[in-house]
């Protein structure tokens, strides 16, 4: 995992943004920005290069699932890895996120270990697909 990668954390609760930011910092990531919903995140994603998106689902304005779909529909952003961190634990929601192309799904409340594990898995899988494509 590249520790210099740029990460955008999207959650309407500032406490949760800070928690995630701190956890990511503990893992070694320093380059972290925040947005409080999809509407705020979208122009940020458009304006600069991010390597990873962490988003909540349920947010006023633009919810995370819509942000995910917008990312996947955008030519430049469609391969951006997206991790959903949300209290929405209904089966059909997880299915919807998976179908929309989410890379990982964490249900709140979660532990630091869960976040680390999901990050490892997401990037291991991305590297594996990249290696496969290269060979």
């Amino acid at each position: 995992m590249n520790k210099d990668m740029r990460i955008l954390v999207v959650d309407d609760f500032s406490t949760m943004r800070r928690i995630i930011r701190n956890l990511l910092r503990e893992i070694g990531f320093q380059n972290i920005q925040e947005a409080d919903d999809g509407n705020t995140a979208w122009p940020m994603l458009q304006a600069s290069e991010f390597d990873f998106l962490v988003t909540d689902w349920n947010m006023p304005g633009m919810p995370g699932i819509d942000l995910l779909k917008a990312v996947r529909a955008d030519d430049r952003l469609k391969t951006l890895p997206v991790l959903m961190v949300t209290a929405e634990a209904k089966r059909e929601q997880i299915v919807e996120a998976a179908q929309a192309g989410v890379n990982g799904y964490i249900v709140k409340p979660f532990t630091a270990e869960t976040l680390r594990e999901k990050l490892d898995r997401i990037f291991a899988r991305l590297e594996a697909t990249a290696a496969e494509a290269a060979s």
Binding site: D11, T15, M16, R18, E26
Partner: protein
């Protein structure tokens, strides 16, 4: 409401029998209907079916429902509890919930501030040249405990979402109640005796205001 009077006034023939009598007659007709169906007497069955269906007069039913609705609305109008709820208590409860939201958020941020300062300290201690093994272990444990405290602050997000939802629902309830009161003729905007309690019930915004008030009272 004139519709109620008209409804009962125009009720035809059936109005004469008591409810129990009508029910008894319907049951008897229904039994006849079943036996004529079983015997395959189509036209007789059809006629009986129409009779059974017609025994409860629709106009009478409508009239009864209208009367009940009218009475219920009239009761609403005279019950000051309802308009008190719509105009004062629900908005007040919503405000209290918002306050809980704000206060828990502030508390969570205060904790996170402390943890953010503590985590690097614990890391530094654990990695320090002069630290012996027990000290290093303690520092690592401290780091772990601080992480646990950090994670526990996610309660604010989860409870906050639930509280927001309750605020939303009670707002909807408030709106519907106000609408109901409006339709029943009462004015929700003018709750009985609401303004009388306002000055005494005014809430202080912190210790400074309390102190100011007390010193104003000669304490």
């Amino acid at each position: 409401m004139s519709a109620a009077g008209a409804g009962s006034g125009t009720a035809p023939g059936m109005a004469g029998g008591s409810a129990a009598e009508i029910a008894r007659q319907r049951l008897a007709k229904a039994r006849l209907l079943v036996s004529s169906l079983e015997a395959g007497r189509e036209s007789e069955a059809n006629a009986l079916a129409r009779e059974v269906a017609g025994m409860r007069d629709l106009g009478e039913e409508l009239g009864r429902i209208t009367r009940e609705l009218h009475d219920a609305l009239a009761e609403l109008r005279v019950d000051p509890r309802i308009s008190e709820l719509a105009a004062n208590e629900i908005p007040d409860a919503r405000e209290k919930l918002s306050w809980v939201l704000t206060l828990t958020e502030q508390a969570a941020h205060t904790v996170i501030n402390a943890v953010e300062e503590g985590l690097p300290l614990a890391s530094r201690l654990a990695a320090h040249d002069t630290a012996d093994e027990p000290l290093r272990a303690d520092a690592q444990r401290l780091h772990q405990l601080l992480s646990d405290i950090l994670m526990a602050q996610s309660f604010q997000d989860l409870t906050g979402q639930a509280i927001r939802r309750v605020i939303e629902v009670s707002g909807e309830l408030e709106k519907q109640l106000a609408l109901l009161l409006h339709r029943s003729g009462a004015r929700a905007g003018e709750p009985p005796a609401a303004k009388d309690v306002a000055p005494g019930a005014e809430k202080m915004r912190g210790q400074d205001e309390v102190d100011d008030l007390l010193s104003g009272l000669g304490f």
